[in-house]
């Protein structure tokens, strides 16, 4: 089911052997809801990007913002901080 190592494959004590390898862990699987940007209201200020504690929100070529769902945990801070209230949270199961 998964590509994660079995217990026999772990090095004793589980040291992290590759610097910066935490990025390989796609922790977005914890998310229960995702942020959706309404581009008609968005003024492209980037406040969502600045406040994102995961630093997973990036500006697209068109100037709008989106979250990298490999890492976004759905905390909703972007929605809370957005000055135009253009971000809504959508349940993952919907």
């Amino acid at each position: 089911m998964s590509s994660l190592p079995g217990w026999k494959a772990l090095p004793p004590g589980c040291p992290v052997q590759t610097p910066l390898s935490a990025a390989n862990n796609h922790t977005g699987s914890w998310r229960s809801e995702r942020p959706i940007w309404n581009h008609e209201q968005c003024v492209q200020c980037g406040v969502c990007d600045m406040f994102c504690p995961e630093a997973c929100i990036k500006q697209t070529a068109e100037g709008f913002y989106e979250a990298n769902l490999d890492y976004c945990k759905g905390c909703g801070i972007c929605k809370q901080e957005c000055p135009t209230q253009c971000i809504s949270m959508k349940q993952e199961e919907e």
Binding site: S2, L4, P12, G13, Q17
Partner: protein
């Protein structure tokens, strides 16, 4: 054969740690363990031992410093007792979970409150499930020998786990006994230098003790548990090889006059020696009684205990600690778990003895035997008894 010297057991332990050529000793003094680290600090200060002695501000710091020094690749020793072990508690899991080999001598002492500096096994039983290997020694020679042995087992690449060598505070730590010391050649033959499989290294940066998300934590616990269970093989091999080097053979548990015994005591630590004397006297009176002394506590030798106790009528389990509000004695509880799968089980009569330094005498063992004999004759098994408690 090495030279025999009369010395205080704590000093003997410190001398053995020096023989093991330890690199780092982070330690905080606490009664009754103090003489060990006091003597080690003298050995370092006087230039007899080339090691770093780190006088830390608490036991929490001592164990944290141990973790750091082992992660840096250094052979590491510390010692503690009672409240000190309790203060280390948080870091004990980190040392074992990070699979950091080190040796800690624990001079067993009861826990407060009320304040007691005297001996029982309450301190280590509260640290039972920290994932460390744990053994109990019963005399000065065993304590001395098991320092070299403990480093060897702990640092084995098939183990890589910390180990507590438990010995009774005061009853053992402060007595003078004849101890046969090892020669430098014997140490060299038995204990290779520590070669860590990996360590903290600025040229090869790794992270030790990182977060274990739900996707991985379960697997680390499985690996840790299996390594602890498998450490028994490495322990047994090291005991065999120690016998070849110094001529003393130890094992997981030891029998004393048990061949034809219907009733056997099961003991751990220093009271085993009093119990053997009691057994000698009862044998003279024609009673078929023996004692099984348990040396290895973690991992617990379920198969060996079941094999040795399975055919008996009554087991007299003598604990030195109380699982308050629970099963009574932690050792008895484990013994019952070992015996439960057997078709024919002995009755287990449980005693909690010698809490907080209360003496356990030969007469006490004889009374325990009489209670076991009543059960062997068909009497009901009584609930666990706090030996000698005043009504």
């Amino acid at each position: 054969m090495g030279t025999r010297k009369g010395m205080e057991v704590s000093i003997g332990i410190a001398e053995a740690v020096m023989m093991a050529d330890v690199d780092v000793i982070p330690a905080y003094p606490i009664t009754p363990q103090t003489h060990i680290v006091e003597h080690l600090s003298e050995l370092v200060a006087d230039g007899h031992l080339d090691a770093e002695f780190v006088p830390v501000e608490s036991e929490h710091s001592a164990m944290s410093c141990c973790c750091g020094s082992v992660a840096a690749g250094a052979r590491t020793f510390t010692a503690t007792s009672s409240q000190g072990l309790a203060l280390m508690h948080e870091i004990l899991f980190i040392a074992s979970g990070m699979r950091l080999p080190m040796v800690m001598a624990v001079a067993n002492r009861s826990l407060s409150a009320p304040i007691s500096i005297w001996n029982d096994h309450g301190d280590v039983m509260a640290a039972r499930d920290t994932g460390w290997m744990q053994i109990f020694v019963e005399n000065g020679q065993e304590a001395y020998d098991h320092m070299m042995w403990a480093f060897r087992v702990s640092e084995d690449h098939d183990v890589l786990l910390p180990i507590m060598v438990n010995f009774d505070g005061f009853i053992l730590s402060h007595v003078v006994e004849p101890i046969e010391v090892w020669s430098p050649e014997e140490v060299k033959q038995f204990l290779p230098p520590y070669k860590p499989p990996y360590r903290l290294d600025v040229d090869k940066p790794w992270t030790f003790g990182a977060v274990g998300i739900p996707d991985i934590y379960l697997e680390t616990r499985m690996a840790h548990n299996e390594a602890l269970i498998d450490s028994q093989k490495v322990m047994e091999k090291a005991w065999d090889e120690m016998a070849e080097v110094v001529g003393r053979k130890y094992s997981v548990l030891e029998n004393y006059k048990t061949d034809d015994a219907d009733i056997v005591f099961l003991t751990m630590g220093g009271i085993s020696e009093t119990c053997m004397t009691a057994v000698d006297q009862m044998r003279d009176e024609g009673k078929k009684v023996g004692v099984i002394r348990l040396r290895m506590w973690r991992p617990f030798p379920f198969a060996e205990v079941a094999k040795e106790l399975g055919g008996r009528k009554v087991v007299l389990a003598v604990d030195r600690a109380l699982s308050t509000g629970g099963c009574g004695g932690p050792v008895a509880s484990e013994i019952k778990a070992a015996l439960y799968p057997l078709d024919k089980r002995p009755q287990v009569v449980e005693f909690i003895a010698g809490l907080g330094g209360r003496d356990v005498t030969i007469g006490d063992f004889k009374e325990m035997y009489d209670k076991g004999a009543a059960v062997a004759a068909g009497g009901a098994v009584p609930p666990y008894e706090m030996v000698g408690v005043r009504a």
